[in-house]
Amino acid sequence: MKNKTLKNIFIALVFIFLFLPIIILVIYSFNTSKMNIIFEGFTFEWYKTMLTNTDLLEAFANTLIIAITSTIASTIIGTIGAVGLYKYNFPFKGLINKLIYIPIVIPEIVLGISLLSIYTLMKLELGMPTLILSHIAFSIPFVIVSVRSNLSPLITTYEEAAQDLGANPLNTFFKVTLPAIMPGVISGATLSFTLSLDDVVISYFTAGPGSNTLPLKIYSMIKTGITPDVNALSTIMLLVTTAIITVSAIYQSRNIAEGGKS
């Protein structure tokens, strides 16, 4: 019995460790004191200040634009890429199949500086376009891996059946393949969206002087001093990401439940 209590305490400690910094930020976003040292009283003031902080809001808007655009692009490229790599054979397929794992395993900083170097070589000016391109670059492999886990010989059989019955490849893809791999597409998209929102390292190297993302803005603020409205914005972002994850998880569990029934 005592053993069991000890075990539960251990689990609780791990969760305290994981959630403590987040809880602290949420609490301090309602703190009347500006200094984040002692909790003095409850206020919504920082949420109001946040709405007038144009720098912060602009960085947040940039972050959202980058996350949404890069998620859409990487989900499309990753999904059809995963299907293509599964279905077709071509020269150097082995090489391509190895290359797509590189962004997953190499340290982000290496990807960041190599993209920076190649943009400089191509004389691309750093800014929003290079940021979006870089986010697409590191997201695609995660989408491919996620979609690939949903592809099976069974789907190929269905596709062949559809084509034998006269469906053209386009119809086959949208009516047979895509519905079958949808859970993988959704979880790939969710993953690339959250990766993009979170990214510090790759953005650090590929953002131009004019373009700022929220993580980069916070990074520079940490050095000069963080204002409590950052806590407020962090709290809102925390709610948004948690909501996205929950919706995606519900969608998937419902999908699994339906799959089990049929």
């Binding site: 040292i37 395993v105 190499i106 900083i109 500086i113 886990s149 929102l197």
Partner: protein, 285 residues
């Protein structure tokens, strides 16, 4: 029909092929090329073949930073393993719903911005931060502890940021172990330590390598954590590369250090594959 299929083959394959060549292969080849070039004193690159960048890494203080950073990475990985094994083994005894909920909960913090979370640690760890204030207020300590701007702060920050990457693969490996094997061992009189050594470790080794890869590599590269919690006093390989590219503007030297990181990564991936790990399981959730 046949030619139609061929068109579709191009539609499906060309984006991913173009992507992997232009945004993965080409940049890496260019970095490799740069690492054999010379830099001029104005931050430019002279296209002359030289090994001097690699010699600089081996000969100077850089090797010390490389070793120290690796040590921080190994320590972080080790702490993550020490937390993940008991965590997974305890959850293993729980009901499936509890287990699923707990593993989902582990993911929530790591889906929020890592800089914001690192900032949360400043609020906790600094001299007049939450931890020191609590300990001072309850008279447990009389002088504030130095919890950040040192190696301790970095290791806390790295462990915190990267722990989920270890917990998830270790959990999924531990949950897969067949209960009957453990029962059988127990019936035959195996002690808990023996069960751990002879059954659990061999069955979960590829999960641990998966986690180690996803923890160790960022732990030597995440310059922002050592910047923030190390206060600029402690350099890891990530800071070194960042400085060469953005401050010192010696791209060839920065490239050479990056090539070193790429080689380490490939070696670790090889080891992971040798233990039976699949590439598709890496970095997944």
């Amino acid at each position: 029909m046949k030619s139609n299929n061929k068109v579709f083959k191009y539609i499906f394959l060309s984006p991913v092929v173009i992507y992997s060549i232009i945004l993965i292969l080409l940049p890496l080849i260019y970095i490799l090329f740069l690492s054999f070039c010379k830099s001029d004193s104005y931050g430019g690159v002279i296209y002359n073949f030289t090994l001097s960048n690699y010699l600089t890494i081996i000969n100077t203080t850089y090797i010390k930073i490389l070793l120290k950073s690796s040590l921080i990475g190994i320590l972080t990985t080790f702490i993550c393993i020490c937390i993940s094994y008991p965590f997974a083994l305890i959850l293993r005894e729980k009901k499936e719903e509890v287990r699923n909920l707990m593993t989902k909960l582990v993911m929530i913090p790591f889906l929020t911005n890592s800089l914001i979370r690192t900032y949360g640690w400043i609020v906790l760890l600094r001299k007049n931060g939450v931890i020191n204030n609590t300990l001072l207020g309850t008279n447990i300590i009389t002088k504030p502890l130095e919890l950040m701007y040192n190696n301790f702060g970095i290791i806390i920050g790295m462990t915190y940021t990267l722990l989920p990457f270890m917990i998830l693969p270790v959990c999924s490996a531990v949950f897969k172990i067949d209960n009957n094997i453990i029962e059988a061992a127990r019936d035959l009189g195996a002690k808990p330590l023996q069960i751990f050594k002879n059954i659990i470790i061999p069955e979960t080794i590829s999960g641990v390598f998966n986690g180690s890869l996803m923890v160790f590599m960022p732990a030597i590269g995440y310059f922002f954590i050592s910047d923030i919690l190390g206060g600029g006093k402690v350099m890891i390989i990530g800071n070194l590369i960042k400085n060469q590219f953005l401050t010192a503007r010696n791209w060839p030297l920065g490239s050479a250090i990056s090539i070193f990181l790429i080689i380490v990564t490939f070696l670790l991936v090889r080891v992971y594959q040798k233990t039976g790990g699949k590439l598709d399981d890496l970095g997944g959730m």
